[in-house]
Symmetry: none
Subunit: 248 residues, 2 copies
C-alpha cells in the first residue's frame, strides 16, 4: 500500500487534530467538575475518561502510522514498512469507550436507580458484542467475510439505537423544557455520529482505490470519534450545567 | 530548501520559546481560577485550554522541524529530509484555538445570554471559514493561488474584526471605567496581533529568498501566537480580576 505525500500529511494531521481534541476536552471536563452539582459529576468524570482513553489511543495510532509508512524521497510517496499500520487500536479503544459513552448518557439523565440498571444491562453487553463482531470484518481482506461480520455487528448496533431512542424519548417528559431540547440534540448527535462508523467501515467495499479508501476511512473514523466523544462530552456538560441550575 | 546553521537555530529557539510560554501560561491560568469570581472562571479555563492546545502543537512542530531538517556538517547548513517539515500543524492548531479565543473574549465580557449566543453564531463559523480558506494558500507554491485563497480568507477575517470591534465598543458602556480601559486594550491587542498572521502569510510573496521568507514567516507566526494566546490570556485574567473586584 502506498500513500502520496499529501495523503500521508492529511491523515497525520487529522490524527493529531483528534489527539489534541481528546486530550483537551478531557482536561476541560475535569477542571469543570466544580461547575455542576455533585449528582452530575459522575457523567463528567466518565466523559473525561472516555476522551482521555481516546487520547492515549490516538497517541499510539500516530506512532504506529509514523512507523508504518516511510517517505521514499523529499515530497515523495510514503510506502508501507515491515512494521505495518496497526488498525486494531481503534477497536481496543471502542471496546473501552463505547460502554462508557452509554454509561455517561444514562448518568446525565439522572434516571431512577432501577431504570438505570435495567438500561445498562441491555446496552453494555450489546455494545461489547457490536465491537467484537465488527473487528474480524475490519481486518478481513475479502468482501464476503467483511459483509458477514459487518451484518452481524449491525444487529446489536440497531438494538442499542432502539433502546436509546425509546428511552431517551421517554425521559424527555421528566426534564425541564430547556433540558428536553438539549436531550433531543444529544439523541440526534448520537445517531448522526454513530452512523458514521458503519459507513467508514464500508468504504473499502464501495470499489474505491486502496489508498483513497484508507484515507477516507481514517478521516471518517477520526472525525466521528471527535464528534462522538468530544462534542458529545461537551453537550453532556451543557446538560449537566442546565440541570444543575434547574435543580438548585 | 536549505537553512543556514544560524537560521535553523533561530527558528528552533523561537519555537521553544513559544512552547514554554504556552505551557506555563496554561498552568498559571489554571492555578489562578480561585482568584476570580465563578462567573469569570469559564473565560480562564478556555484561555488555559487555548494555551495548552498550542503547547501541544508547538511540541509537534518542534519534532517535525527536527526530523524535517538535517545538518550536513558541524556548523554547516541544514537540508530538508524526506520527512519534510509539516507546516499544516499551525492550521490544525488555529482551527481549534481561534474559535476558543473568540469564545473566551465573549465569556469575559459576561454579556446577556442572548447577545452572547448571537455573537458566537456569527464569529465561530467565520473563524473556521477563515482558517479553512487560508490553508490551501499556505501550502500552495505559486503566487497566484496563494493570493486568491488569501483574499478569500480575508473576507471572513474582516467580518470577524467588524463584529468584534462593534460589539466590544458597545459593551464598553456597560463596564466600570477601569474595566472599560482594559477592554479597549484587549481590542487593540486583538487587532494588532491578528494582523500579524496575514502579513507573515505574505512574506513568501514579497520577493524574499526562500529560506529568509521561511524564517521570517515562522518567527512571525510564533511571536503572533505568543501575543494572541499568552498575553491575550493574561489580559483576560486581569479583566476578570478587575470585574470580580467591581462586582463584589
Ligand atoms: C454497525 C457496525 C459497526 C459500528 C460501530 C460503531 C457504532 C462504533 C461506535 C464507536 C464509537 C461511538 C466510538 C467513540 O467513542 C462496526 C464495528 C464499524 C462494524 C460494521 C457494523
Ligand atoms: C486573513 C488571513 C489569514 C488570517 C489568519 C489569522 C487571523 C489567524 C489567527 C490566528 C490566531 C489568532 C491564532 C492564535 O491563536 C491567513 C489564514 C493567514 C491566510 C491569509 C489571510
Amino acid at each position: 500500500e502506498t500513500l502520496s505525500n499529501g495523503q500521508f500529511q492529511t491523515v497525520y494531521n487529522v490524527f493529531s487534530f483528534a489527539l489534541a481534541s481528546m486530550l483537551f476536552t478531557a482536561l476541560f471536563l475535569l477542571v469543570s467538575q466544580g461547575r455542576v452539582l455533585p449528582r452530575y459529576r459522575q457523567a463528567l468524570v466518565v466523559s473525561a475518561t472516555v476522551c482521555g482513553i481516546a487520547a492515549y489511543h490516538y497517541f499510539r495510532i500516530i506512532n504506529s502510522f509514523n512507523e508504518g509508512f516511510a517517505p521514499t524521497a523529499i515530497g515523495g510517496d510514503y510506502t508501507l514498512t515491515p512494521f505495518g499500520f496497526n488498525e486494531a487500536y481503534r477497536y481496543v479503544d471502542w471496546l473501552l469507550t463505547v460502554p462508557l459513552l452509554l454509561l455517561e448518557t444514562i448518568a446525565v439523565l439522572a434516571l431512577p436507580r432501577a431504570t438505570r440498571a435495567s438500561l445498562l444491562t441491555k446496552l453494555i453487553p450489546a455494545s461489547v458484542l457490536m465491537i467484537a463482531l465488527g473487528y474480524p470484518g475490519e481486518v478481513a481482506i475479502d468482501t464476503l467475510p467483511k459483509m458477514l461480520w459487518g451484518a452481524a455487528s449491525t444487529i446489536p448496533f440497531l438494538y442499542i439505537l432502539y433502546v436509546l431512542f425509546v428511552e431517551l424519548t421517554k425521559s424527555l417528559g421528566r426534564q425541564p423544557a430547556e433540558v428536553a431540547a438539549s436531550v433531543k440534540r444529544l439523541r440526534i448527535l448520537l445517531i448522526a455520529t454513530w452512523g458514521v462508523y458503519p459507513i467508514s467501515y464500508l468504504f473499502p467495499v464501495f470499489g474505491l482505490d486502496g489508498a483513497d479508501a484508507f484515507v477516507l476511512r481514517q478521516v471518517g473514523y477520526s472525525v466521528a470519534d471527535v464528534l462522538a466523544k468530544c462534542l458529545y462530552g461537551l453537550v453532556i456538560y451543557k446538560i449537566a450545567r442546565m440541570k444543575s441550575a434547574a435543580d438548585d
